[in-house]
Each structure stands twice: as C-alpha cells, then as structure tokens.
C-alpha cells in the first residue's frame, strides 16, 4: 500500500493546485499482466518524480 499511499498524497496535493483529471494510456492494456496496483502506483510515482525534477528527454523525432 506504500506506493498507493504515496500516489494518493501526490494526487491530493495536486488537486489543491487545480488538478481536475488524470488519465493513463496503457497501450495494449494491463489486463493480461500479472501485476498489482502497487506496481502501477510505483511506476506512476517514478513518473511524478522525474517530472518534478524536470528530467525530460528531447525528442526531435516526435512532431
């Protein structure tokens, strides 16, 4: 539950900053993956951390 708690904490803070909607594109879906919501939130927390640190990848091939 640790990752879920961390994500929910982030979410609550962002809601205070005006967040109204969050969506995820899972591509081909998670249904067949043997994973848990903790795995999902772990990845989401990683993304949050990267975003907050501003560690972006320059993509000249995406236009």
């Amino acid at each position: 539950m640790e990752e879920q708690i961390k994500f929910l904490s982030w979410h609550a803070e962002e809601v205070k900053r005006g967040l109204v909607d969050v969506k995820f594109f899972t591509g081909e879906g998670c249904f067949l993956k043997n994973t848990t919501s903790e795995d999902f939130f772990r990845e989401a927390n990683t993304v949050n951390s990267l975003f907050e640190q501003g560690i972006v990848v320059e993509r000249k091939d995406v236009f």
Binding site: Q4, F7, L8, H11, E14, V15, R17, G18, L19, V20, D21, V22, K23, F24, F25, T26, G27, G29, C30, F31, K33, T35, T36, S37, D39, F40, F41, E43, A44, T46, V47, L50, F51, I55, V56, V57, E58, R59, D61, V62, F63
Partner: protein
C-alpha cells in the same frame, strides 16, 4: 458522446489545421509545434498544453494526462517510438477536447483498479462514461491522424500492395492504427460519417 460527435470534433480541428496550412492537408499530420493539432486543441479548449517525454519503462502505462483548470500536461514514455508517441499525445489531447466533467477521473484507486482489471469500480447507478471516454479518445486520435480526406490515398496504397507497416511509415502512425483504419468495419464507419451532413 457518440462516434458522430467525435467525428464532428475531429473534423473541426482538421478544418482549422487546413486553414493554418494554407488550405492543404498533407500527410503526415503535424501533432506538435505551432501548427500542430495539439496547438489547435489548446486554443479550442483554452488550455495551455505542454508535452514532456520522460525516461521510464512504460511497462504499466505509456502516457499520462494531467488536466488542471487552465493547463494540461501530456507525459509520454521515451520507450514509445515516434509513431506511438504521436498517437499517444493525440489520444490524450483528444480527452481534453472531448472530456466533460463527468468523465474526469477523481478517484485514482478506482481508475487504476479499472485499468488493471478491465472492470471499473463503479456503483450500480454510475454510467460507464469513463470506459467510453477512453474508446472515444482513441477513435478521435485516429480521426485526427488519418482524417477521412486521406481515405482515397490509404485505399490506393493498400491496393498497390503496400504493407500496413509501409503505409504506417508514410503517415507516421503505428502500424496497428493503419490495420484498424483499413478494416472493413472502420472503412464503413468512415464512409457513413462522410455521408452525414453536419451543419457548420
């Protein structure tokens, strides 16, 4: 929202796109930049839309949309190739265009459980707006990147023997999206939509 509503929305964006591009509609459609569909969607929704590619595995999810009152962030994984990146960005941007407040995800736990289990945690009297919103956004992205104006060219390329992969590289979209666009059912839908007279 119905499929025809998605068509109307995407057609409006493509109409604006054509105006910005001196009345022409060349492939591939520009997604980013001042003249891209995301910029047009930003103006239409009065949202400042920023995209960011981050280095993560993309195992659980490939892209994320965060919508705030006056802005939105579309974040996508560096693991996505250019075609999938373009598609993911368009799909998330279409959520901004089509989403109304009842489709907003305010409960992350229910959202994630729904994604993992394909069974949203709805109450019995909830409507299924959230799942429909995902399908509509995907449909919208397809219509933005492969609008009906491209149908004759798509058909010619397919008839000439080009593989779906080869066609995908021409339009800079995922091969899977070309395969979907060229199924008989999707062709029939696009044909139906083209024949609907929608007042301007």
């Amino acid at each position: 929202m119905r499929i025809v509503d998605v068509f109307v929305l995407s057609r409006d964006i493509i109409s604006e796109y054509k105006k910005i591009h001196a009345g022409t509609l060349m492939h591939p459609i520009d997604v980013l930049g001042d003249k891209g569909v995301v910029s047009i969607i930003g103006e239409r929704t009065k949202l400042k839309i920023e995209t960011a590619c981050l280095r993560w595995s993309g195992y659980m999810f490939r892209a994320q949309l965060r919508r705030y009152g006056d802005r939105a962030n579309i974040i996508y994984s560096h693991e996505l190739n250019p075609c999938w990146s373009r598609f993911a960005i368009c799909k998330e941007a279409f959520h901004l265009l089509s989403g109304d407040t009842k489709n907003f995800s305010s409960d992350p736990v229910a959202l994630v459980n729904g994604l993992l289990n394909q069974m949203p945690q709805y109450k019995v009297d909830d409507d299924i707006g959230e799942i429909a919103a995902e399908h509509l956004a995907i449909t919208g992205a397809v219509q933005l990147l492969l609008p009906h104006e491209f149908t004759p060219l798509l058909d010619r390329l397919e008839s000439s023997g080009k593989t779906h992969y080869e066609i995908a590289t021409i339009f800079k979209v995922p091969e899977k999206i070309i395969s979907y666009r060229l199924t008989p059912d999707t062709k029939a839908i696009f044909k139906q939509l083209e024949e609907i007279k929608i007042p301007n």
